[in-house]
């Protein structure tokens, strides 16, 4: 890539191209480098996120009630990754049944299309996502990645 820059500068020095053209060519080289770096980073799949957390805390009204519920679940990301690999072990007939059952519930999703590569991008996207739900009794549901 450094060769390309050098050639462009040499061409500019020899006045074979104008400064504007040199600028455009150098920008094109920069863009190409950016694309390559992005591809390189997507090849490295691991993210810094270690756990998927789900917490449910009761609302202020519920604290005094008889059945306040607290949930604190921490699932390692590696377990989710391993779980996706488990789909490869499920017999096709069982997958068909699972797909059919999900379709009946209105979820149009083919479990067979879920691949370990997809889960990486899903986990990456989860890192930027935080789900906050507040129930009608004031209970708070949080789903996030840490």
């Amino acid at each position: 890539m450094a060769d390309n820059r050098k050639k462009i500068l040499e061409m500019l020095e020899k006045k074979k191209i104008s400064a504007d053209e040199a600028y455009r060519l150098l920008s094109a080289v920069d863009t190409q480098e950016g694309v390559r770096e992005e591809k390189g980073s997507s090849a490295a799949p691991k993210t810094n996120h270690k756990y998927l957390r789900v917490t449910i805390t009761p609302g202020e009204n519920q604290e005094s009630s008889e059945h306040p519920e607290r949930v604190n679940v921490r699932v390692p990301m590696s377990l989710i990754r391993a779980g996706v690999k488990l789909t490869a072990l499920i017999p096709p007939e069982a997958l068909d049944k699972a797909n059919k059952a999900m379709e009946e519930k209105g979820i149009n999703f083919d479990v067979r299309t879920l691949k370990p590569e997809d889960i990486e991008s899903l986990i990456e996207a989860l890192g930027d996502t935080q789900i906050d739900i507040e129930g009608k009794h004031g209970e708070k549901v949080k789903v996030f990645v840490e």
Binding site: E69, N72, L79, A82, K85
Partner: protein, 92 residues
């Protein structure tokens, strides 16, 4: 490299029962490894016999995935409690 979990802490509490214990996973894993090594000729034979049907590959993948899942359990924590009941599971 991920190592298998060392301990599992289980605590269950309800109005009738209350118990909590530490499960020494390292001992269970050790015993399981010894069992797998002792049974390896039978397992290998079963895999070889089942290979033409396609189930041999499935068995190899199942053993591999099972081990990976066991190692991945480390750090898992489930803590659910309400007024009367508590369920706590932690894998260390």
């Amino acid at each position: 490299m991920n190592w298998p979990p060392m301990l599992m802490h289980i605590k269950i509490k309800n109005p009738n029962h209350q118990f909590g214990f530490w499960l020494p996973m390292f001992l269970i894993v050790l015993v399981a490894f010894i069992l797998v090594i002792a049974l390896s000729p039978i397992i290998l034979l079963a895999i070889l016999l089942a290979w033409p049907t396609g189930w041999g590959r499935w068995m190899v993948n199942a053993i591999k995935t099972g081990y990976v899942m066991l190692c991945s359990l480390r750090g898992m924590k489930v803590d659910i409690q309400n007024h009367k009941e508590t369920v706590f599971i932690s894998v260390i």
